[in-house]
Symmetry: C2
Subunit: 268 residues, 2 copies
């Protein structure tokens, strides 16, 4: 199944635009759990089991698994295996490199790990995105405007009369010949979401920055959704994963995800 | 020892500005070797043993190890362990993410793997670079102008009257308060190397793109070196690793590295 179709089906089945970011941070995991890769795998599995009827997608962050070494790799595989068939998994690794290296990342994240989609950094241009885009059965979310303060350093600088992130959106629309690309646009920039949506009406938007980073959820949904009430997924990581740091963390994650899904759906 | 000092010492001891890129590609490794992570580790070890008195640094490319799964992680550790004390290792992973994620990458590449330096993507701005720059005992090479055709998509676009890559160089110079930053500038853009050298006289340049990608070695050295004949390292991967694909690959790599070192030194 192609990525966009998989995403739309999950959105419809779970009536949700919520993407849960899986950033299992040893420093923030429940205090009764060990600080091992096995504990990380268990934590992720229980979060997924508690939320998988409430989400449109999961977004494991490679760094949090990679920082555990080879056993983190196993924890990441177990995490992906715990996601029910039909729910897409977007691995967040923000890769970007020349063609022969990008091919290796495609092998790593798509073939070995089985990710349905990947985040990619646009800085190096078309040929750094192409090897991923060529995998037409997978999705590619290209960084456009991120939710961190550093977005002002380059992403919002004016290039040829538009902010750089708009030029990125325009290029990604042009590169989207196989219909499998999307964009990452931070919720901390409401007007920008509207602009990007206008530039690429068919590009799904992955919107981080709600919650811990202070972005406005309602605006992100209102501006990001397409006429079918899809086309945007709202990522929340810490607000779900660490809703409780006690033994009831999975139940608390479920409650947080339910609340977020409802808040998002009120704006669809 | 701080990274820049480690690099300068290796440059002086081996009388070399050559950086050997370790991109062990299963499809290009000698045909008599297995296609396993163990074979990759052996290949890297023998390349290092054959060239370690000829280089200023090694640059293992994370993707080529990551694509082997958890056993690739072990191969990468063995590769780093095979590098003699005193030769700096720059892990090429082109990471770039918000602060709490960047911390995880710093843990992964600096603490677990023991890399002396890391390549970082500037797209997300200051706070995506800061967690690495804060590790003042390690080096950070920020992508500035890359050697691939896609560099024309964004990197050379005009922002505030200068090409984006020059704005990146200017920012990196300002962020370099601890003296541990550097820049990646492709050899395929000779005039650009001169500009970047002028913008950041104290920033060491990592120059890929000589060899397989067609950049001019002499110009890269002439424009990139500082008054002490250091300040730039020229990366060659495929031209050394695959100088022979027969059983004599290590000897052939040594001969290629000797030739490259001599060609570089004629321009210092």
């Amino acid at each position: 199944m192609r990525f966009h179709e998989r995403l739309d089906r999950a959105i419809d089945r779970n009536d949700s635009l919520l993407c849960v970011g899986l950033d299992p941070d040893l420093a923030r995991m429940p205090s009764h759990m060990g600080r091992t890769a096995d504990a990380v795998a268990e934590f992720s599995r229980r979060i997924i089991a508690a939320t998988c009827d409430l989400v449109a997608a999961y977004k494991p962050n490679f760094a949090f698994f990679g920082a555990l070494g080879p056993s983190g790799w196993h924890a990441l595989r177990e995490t992906l295996a715990a996601v029910p068939e039909g729910i897409p998994v977007i691995v967040d690794a923000k890769v970007g490199d020349i063609g022969n290296t990008a091919e290796q990342y495609a092998r790593m994240f798509f073939d070995l790990l089985g990710a349905h989609a990947l985040t990619v950094n646009p800085y190096m241009g078309a040929d750094a995105v192409a090897p991923f885009a060529a995998r037409t059965d997978r999705g590619v979310f290209v960084l456009c405007l991120t939710s961190n303060p550093g977005a002002a350093d380059f992403e919002t600088q004016t290039v040829a009369g538009v902010p750089l992130f708009e030029m990125v959106a325009t290029r990604v629309r042009a590169w989207n010949t196989a219909g499998n690309l999307g964009l990452v646009v931070g919720a901390t920039h409401a007007a920008a979401i509207r602009r990007v949506r206008a530039i690429g009406p068919d590009l799904p938007l992955l919107v981080p920055g709600v919650g811990a980073q202070g972005g406005d959820l309602a605006t992100a949904v209102t501006e990001g959704k397409n006429p079918q009430g899809r086309g945007v997924i709202i990522n929340v990581s810490r607000g779900v994963l660490y809703a409780s740091t006690a033994a009831d963390y999975a139940e608390a994650a479920r409650a947080a995800a339910q609340e977020l899904r409802a808040a998002i759906n009120r704006c669809r």
